[in-house]
Symmetry: C2
Subunit: 194 residues, 2 copies
DNA sequence: TCCCTAAGTCATCGATCGATGACTTACCTG
DNA sequence: CAGGTAAGTCATCGATCGATGACTTAGGGA
């Protein structure tokens, strides 16, 4: 007996595995058979529960349990926290990449594009917005900073640029402070090493 | 008569179409039948000429006619030129995205990853390197700036963040100068509007 | 214990993909 | 104009994918 016959539990496990598969392999790279195999269930069950691969994908993204744990605390500590989350956290189950970066692989699909945008806007940008208070072009500055963090993550994990790939968090923090101060006109403290 | 029987010419046309297809649809999304169809030739011919889809891909990327026209001229004008190339150029045939950003869709494949890295390192980073002269962490600063440009391009075209998607080149140039100066410790001129 | 409902499975379809090998046709040479 | 060679085509294979519908089996209530 692999598992009890529980519709909701099986559905939830399918969604969990689908999330990882889609993020790691992209929409096209992840097959329904793969997801079903992870759960240890017949592929046909996926279609019984979700109707189609596309709907499985949409629901998996929409019910993302905890794609991002948005940090709180003093605003000027946010850049360092986001840097850690986006760049230096160990996302082993997502093939070493932040789920957001991994999801960009599927950006050809409209659903994924919308989902990523929503996550970036309502998540990261909403959190970063306070930093730009008092500046003109506040939204633009916020998005520019987010673009930088995203670009760093991509160069590190998806491209594998030599210096950045080897850089540690401590290497990046001073530059994070420099750019953050230039962009937001306020000092960005460098947290102590732990 | 569609075209003359010219092995080299047909090969070259296949490579051209393959480049666009791979960049726009990704490695998995682009089929050999698509590429052959673009050229108006039988798919089997592709295998006769290149052996496999993977080899077609590798050769298409390696012989990239002009994936990037690296700008020259005074070093402090490079940021603005790269911003235009990466973010504001009209890459209509690549579905509106810079080829480099489009190629990231295929970064799951090792070949593509290597190719993108090579292009970034020997292309953009090589050009930008001079800007960091005189700083410690010169390579890191260079890669961080490249990460920023890349991130801007991705947020604009692949994610579609609201403010950045609507921003014009003139909107971004002041911030480019600000961040560039902070990162490289030298003034970055803002070119006049044309 | 019986049995009915729902959870899960099996067999299979049609489309598409990469790939192969035998075939046909166009062009150049003598 | 004849004929050989190379450019290009056709038929087809095996694998994989999403998807469907009929089937089997588990398990709780009477």
């Amino acid at each position: 007996m692999a598992h009890k016959r529980d519709r909701e539990a099986t559905r939830a496990r399918l969604l969990d595995c689908a999330r990882v598969r889609f993020a790691r392999d992209g929409y096209d790279g992840a097959s329904v058979r793969d997801v079903a195999g992870d759960v240890g269930v017949d592929p046909a069950l996926v279609f019984r529960y979700f109707g189609s691969k596309s709907k499985l994908f949409t629901e998996a993204m929409a019910t993302s349990s905890a794609p991002v744990v948005l940090p709180d605390g003093p605003v000027d500590e946010l850049p360092a926290k986001l840097l850690r989350d986006l760049v230096f956290e160990d996302w082993a189950e997502y093939a070493g990449e932040h789920p957001l970066i991994a999801m960009l692989r599927s950006a050809g699909h409209e659903d994924m594009r919308d989902r990523v945008r929503e996550q970036v806007c309502n998540g990261y940008l909403g959190v970063l917005k306070e930093l730009a208070d008092g500046n003109d072009d506040a939204e633009l500055r916020t998005e520019l900073f987010a673009a930088w963090l995203l670009g760093i993550g991509i160069l590190r994990t998806a491209v594998g640029t030599p210096t950045l790939a080897k850089a540690t968090e401590q290497d990046l923090l001073p530059h994070l402070a420099t750019v953050g101060e230039a962009l937001f006109g306020r000092p960005i403290p460098i947290p102590a090493e732990d």
